[in-house]
Symmetry: C3
Subunit: 263 residues, 3 copies
């Protein structure tokens, strides 16, 4: 099936509107283990969308918190050996307690240390894996055994391996790009929209991973949760781009659009 | 005394204007040990208000820096075992050298590890304890022995236990909420104002703790310092809310209002 | 030579325009090891200017990444013992592989621990050293043996010792202030412009260090690279100051001006 034949979902689909309303109603407690560059931005994105973020990272606390959270994100963007231990504990606790969780394999493929960590985390059954095409290709290759990485890959190019990754891991795989593709290996949904400026503000993709974790807290179908969060991002990004005059005002407008979407 | 009978302080009280002017004049060096989500925001809040923030965190440096600082904040929001050691050293040094300091017991009560750490830090005589109602109730309960935590508590509900906490620890206790209450156990001041958007931008409360530390650097009466800083926040928040169109522009407008307040 | 006779470079010099265009064209991969206060801001500054930032910090990854990066920054602003190990490994790898790198000696002089670390890092031949007058004086004094630090020093006051530091280390030294001075010990260039608001947003100076590292990725002459990056900052700061109403909107406008400069 060529990429152009994949069914699309965009705002204002009734399902997306309903999922966002549920997030605003229940403010799902979202446990965010992420990189040091995007903590503040990610918390503000989740708050603007109506979720309740908490960035607990201590090895002594993560298992308890992963157990009580509605959803969780593990993002390996600036991982070190201490984070790695905490993330492992959190993933084990989430798996054991049934907390849905998202793995964001930032820069996997480019660096061996985090690639091994991400592979190991896969054993604890992430509900969703979100990355750009290169990261998804690298993770799929690492799991399947040594396939190449193309850092300039389009999101559609990563789709065949993304489907394999979804089937082998049981996770929904969300590939971010000019068009986002979300697949469980059988069904695939395309989410177009967004804007190139979303790649010029640090952490937009990282915060989408976190928002998917929030949506998993109120929507049991992980394919739908990932699609809804991605579509919310796409429309907020498109609208913000119309109102801004550079990357600084784009980031501000993006949070404003998220604040007001569907309200 | 019902909450409605508690004396109120708001901008433009002469005392508050005077205290803010002193901050702008002396730029008190404020040692901020805080969580990884709010470092940038907190530094920008302090700079906008005229203080001089520094986020020294290494165990090798904190004691020296706590000694030379005019005021200090310890916020346990994303504490780990390394931060815990640094915060302990910093608290000991502040107590020894007479540097006034603020304890912000983020999420104490919800997580046992940090609750023990916060209880231990109390031994080093914080000048001010700032938190939301749940955190103050939890900290008071932890100290007094097992009282409950209500995460939906209003700030006025926490006032009786806050007064007990103030008396047992010798600290001024500042409860943030729709109305802020600041008490030394005998005298209590209410600071109304602010806006609900202050809870939709991450770290606003955390940065109030830091600003109280800055005000302690120029105002020896800790009750007055905490009231003045809280009132500055309330007016900046009210004014920013009138000019914004979402959480992104609220945060920007809040810093702008702080920049221009009383100038 | 009095400071007023030092040759000046400002936007729109053809060299500066050309260097910025090269950054936008090649998006140099910039390895940023910096403090926890400014990671997000620094990444956004580099993205707005067209560079490609990455904040890899794990001891297990930094040497590999420093080797493949086009330029690197080491900023000791919130250094701890783990960062110190990573920064040492990164500096060794950069020196070995020929990756140009910038040392930002934040608060060196004021704190002994980081002063020793910064002195040690000098052995690995930074390409550029960037700091304010006090930091440059302190680093020069530490290297030369105990000269004083004046935290209220003007950038021109630090110039004689900066030249000595440049000659003894082989690095270009960039002193940030009301006027920036950049020197290799023989030639000195002044970059006027900018605005006092650049000192009221946290991390502006830190992010200049990172942008110099990006420019080193496309401009082999380190004196010119540091001058161009400084001039880009000065013009973006001047223009942003005209459009803002406080520190919050200044930061937003600064990123917007960077986004649009020379495009």
């Amino acid at each position: 099936m060529p990429a152009s034949d994949i069914p699309q979902k965009i705002w204002p689909s009734a399902e997306i509107i309903s999922d966002l309303a549920e997030v605003r109603k229940h403010a799902p407690l979202t446990h965010v283990l992420t990189n040091i560059v995007v903590t503040n931005w990610t918390a503000n994105v989740l708050l603007a969308a109506g979720a309740s973020p908490a960035m607990v990272i201590a090895e002594e606390e993560v298992a308890d918190f992963a157990t009580i959270a509605s959803g969780m994100l593990i993002n390996v963007g600036t991982i070190n050996s201490f984070d790695a231990k905490s993330m492992k504990s959190a993933a084990i606790a989430a798996q054991k307690s049934g907390t849905p969780w998202v793995l964001d394999p930032v820069a996997v493929g480019a660096l061996r240390y985090r690639t091994e960590i991400a592979k190991d985390l896969l054993q604890h059954k992430p509900t969703v894996i979100r990355g750009n095409a290169s990261e998804i290709l690298a993770l799929a290759g690492a799991v399947g055994g040594g396939k190449g990485v193309d850092s300039t890959a389009a999101s559609s190019d990563a789709l065949p391996l993304a489907k394999e990754l979804a089937i082998s891991t049981g996770a929904v795989v969300a590939i971010s790009g000019e068009v986002d593709y979300i697949t469980d290996g059988k069904e695939t949904i395309a989410v177009p929209g967004g804007h190139i400026l979303m790649t010029k503000v640090t952490g937009v993709g990282c915060s989408l991973g976190a928002l998917i974790a929030s949506f998993l807290g109120i929507q049991k179908d992980p394919l739908r949760a990932a699609v809804s969060a991605s579509a919310v991002f796409a429309i907020a990004g498109s609208r913000a781009a119309e109102k801004c005059s550079g990357t600084g005002s784009f980031a501000v407008a993006f949070l404003d659009e998220l604040t007001n979407l569907g309200v």
